[in-house]
Amino acid sequence: MAISIRGLSKSFGEFVAVENLNVEVAAGEFFSMLGPSGSGKTTVLRMIAGFELPTSGQVTLFGEDVTNNAPFDREVNTVFQDYALFPHMSVLENVEYGLRVRKVSKKVRTALALAALAKVHLSDFVDRKPAQLSGGQRQRVALARAIVVKPKILLLDEPLGALDLKLREKMQIELKELQRELGITFIFVTHDQDEALTLSDRIAVFNNGKIEQIGTPQELYETPATEFVARFIGTANIFSADESLSMFGLGTKTMIRPEKIEIGNEGPEGTVMESIYLGSSVRLIIDLNGIRLVAELSASDNLAKTYHRGAKVNVNLSKSDLVELK
């Protein structure tokens, strides 16, 4: 295991940021920690990096207990949220820094740094200062600086958070390619569920300092374990235990994804409250006997575009598409 975390807790005074956390991450995995702000995901990352020491519990990296090691005594490197580039150094000097403190000779470290910068497509900017770069370029410098020292694990703390949408999508693909090329473990912290779904092999969903569920993107989307996961990842129609009992004869809270709802000739009748055209799909907000449902139909289905506000439609909720929630 690249990372084993056992019984990890962290309190700041009265506030419990992380509570009794257990995670295992395999070598070479792209592992995301997803959750709203304040859910404890960044605190876990900081404890893996060594910036925070846990209140209790254990962090093991490749079998070595590093729980109380300083950051410079761990084989992990971090890409910071706001990049944390050294403003008084050029791009090249920034990337060389980790090699310099390891006493690598000038010639070798320049060659390695230039190679790392080439990998992130920044060869033309080596002499600039960080202040002269755009956000996306700074992001790449931070990446190059972290990977040049060949860490076994790379920690990324919301690295794309400050970039605009188009650039973020581009960087997502580059990150994924980089991870495949380097073959090292990436631990990726984000609050953006799309980003987590796009990039990750596995995702841990955080809420209030605890992990709600760990799974592949598909598992989390198709079989969320809790209401929180169902709501946080994708859109969900959630029925309370009472509603489930009356509608499906199930005594637990249940959920169905919008695209699993069939609109056609079968099932109870509902009223379209809103019809939203999204390009590839059409989203309908339907009132079904006082229950608000979100359904999503493919826009290639020509019928879908004919459902306007006020239209009566038959809603078919198949029991096999329901997911029981804890």
């Binding site: 990096a49 060594g50 910036f51 300083a70 950051p71 410079f72 992990v76 490197n77 971090t78 910071f80 706001d82 944390a84 580039l85 050294f86 403003p87 008084h88 820094y97 980790g98 310099r100 403190v101 390891r102 600086r145 972290a146 020292v149």
Partner: protein, 303 residues
Amino acid sequence: MKNELSAAGVTAIAVTPARRVSSFFYKYPKNRLRALIALPALWLGLVYVAALLMLLVTAFWTVDEFTGNTRVALNFDNVISLFTDPLYTTVTLRTIGIALGVTIADITLALPIAFFMSKVAGPKLKTIIAISILLPLWASYLVKAYAWRSVLSDKGILQWLLAPLGLNTPGYSLWGAAITLGYIWLPYVILPIYGGLEKVPGNLLEASSDLGAKTFTTLRRVIFPMILPSIIAGSIFAFSLTLGDYITISIVGGPNQMLGNLIYSNVGTANNLPMAAALALVPIAIMFAYLASVKRTGALDNL
């Protein structure tokens, strides 16, 4: 539109003279700039630069030995004597020596205090330290010098503290003066360095540590280059204020003199204003040389 507003009881905006002035300056932004800068420029030009220039010129005048009146005629004797008269050269070197010593001691003390304040202490402790640094600034300079006179005296607290270690108080001497000056100027060195450290984001220290640098390497390669301009700003305070001092040295310096004393006695008892002006050029020249050398290191480029 207008009618609707007046119908609703909203009166039109009156065209007052103040309003016309505002409109004028809005239309001609260059005049606005001129009006804004006129007063400060007048102050700087007349009161400050002119006075300094007068000082420069006076240094090349001389005093009639018989009447004691200032004679307005170009004369280089004063300036030459600065370099030849052993009294002046000794006192100049002594003053530079004390100023350098005080500056280095203050920076050495200020760095850890400012670092602790900025990066280690919590908000409450930070406030307490800030107040204890600022509080002495509100007390009179003279009071502080006299307080040190008591501390440094043969029966003072320093003697009492040092005696068990087999040491003695430096008493009223150059050392006493240097210690007192170092104490008085310390806040002026801590504050800019603290300000500089506040501008170093904490995550740079984390990034450095993350990349494998131990504490000392981070201090040397990340923090020091970033706060160098602040250290220099602090050093300018300690250095220039010490160069010009003549009160502390008279109170706790024993019989020793600094440049300030020579200037003071030339203005007063010796009645030799041109010589005083010539002597006043020395600290100015030293400060110019210091600033020029600092500028050459490039430390001021990122101000």
